[in-house]
Symmetry: C2
């Protein structure tokens, strides 16, 4: 079946897009307002997009009334932001932080969370997160109802238990975001599928 | 533990980033060269980034020798591209398509796949994909070793079995990309976690 988005409502198109482009990684973003209020909110229009330098994107939609979300305002202020990853023990707190708190209220208290200082950016990280990426704002791209924030990763924080001697990550299983309105997946059902080079593929054919 | 990317090699930083920003959705991109060769390759620096209009990003790294990949050249040509989603039965074919075939060889034959015509863009879609998104190139952003392609989604294709009367998607379980070099996750271990509004949260406190 084909579905032409030009013939459908924006709400339907959004639902379709978010049910098809899955699983999405979740950026649980800490940012800080010019007045010093620490904001915390989850976003799944998020991914790594650059290896050298290290870049991530976080795309933030408008509020229902068309105004910008607190996180978007804070990111524009240039004080940096932190992408904290969401593992299952933090799920309840993440859900609380997703509520539409007014800008003068930090989500940290209601979510029962504490921060730890960042090393390279003003915005703090979540103390309880197993992995956090400190980011500086690199570029902003306006995309209709969304604003795409491109950040440079300037510091990694990873729980000691997840890192071995060679700094390899093991046993890290953050949640993935599935379709709207509120489905998530775990990531422990895994498998390894090595790729083959063109030379190896040619050899297999003979 | 904190890890400062400025003190580490690009290869190590890339590995760390791709092991922490997970699970990543996979764009299995069909594109067409100016000479008519259909290219097929998977990319996990991919996500939805816009709801109205509908936008996706696909970030493509350079080859090891610094030259652009075939998909990047094709996307720049402006003939559109299709993001096909990868479900488990297509995994073996996806792995073959990831090999570094020379530009004059289409990955379709080696991967044992056929295409179906697209409705809005020149690049065809994969006939076997359960879901495909036809995209027009909207904007290109250079990000060091990567190029970020922002596409507008102009047509959805979804297998009939996945769509109900109200055009809701059910039972769709594409694979997610985990850490390098070659780990993937399934997405059937799911749960629902409804969000609460600020008003609902306030009510719960009294």
């Amino acid at each position: 079946m084909h579905i032409d988005p030009s013939q459908r409502s924006a709400a339907h198109n959004y639902t379709l897009l978010t049910n098809l482009v899955i699983p999405r990684p979740i950026a649980w973003v800490t940012s800080i307002s010019p007045g010093g209020i620490i904001n915390l909110a989850p976003f799944s229009f998020f991914n790594a997009v650059g290896g050298d330098p290290l870049y991530v994107v976080v795309s933030i939609g408008q509020r229902d009334d068309g105004s910008p979300k607190d996180t978007a305002n804070n990111l524009r202020s240039g004080s940096g932001f932190v992408v904290n990853m969401v593992t299952e023990e933090l799920m309840q707190a993440m859900t609380v932080s997703a509520a539409d708190f007014p800008p003068e209220i930090s989500e940290l208290g209601p979510a029962g969370l504490q921060t730890a200082p960042s090393l390279r950016v003003c915005a703090p990280r979540l103390a309880a997160a197993q992995a956090s990426l400190e980011c500086n704002l690199h570029q902003v791209v306006e995309l209709g109802s969304n604003t795409l924030f491109i950040g440079t990763v300037v510091m990694f924080h990873v729980a000691d238990a997840l890192i071995d001697d060679q700094l390899h990550v093991t046993g890290f299983a953050p949640l993935g975001r599935l379709g709207s309105p509120s489905m998530y997946c775990r990531t422990r059902d895994r498998f390894n599928m090595p790729r083959v080079s063109y030379a190896q593929w040619l050899k297999q054919q003979t």
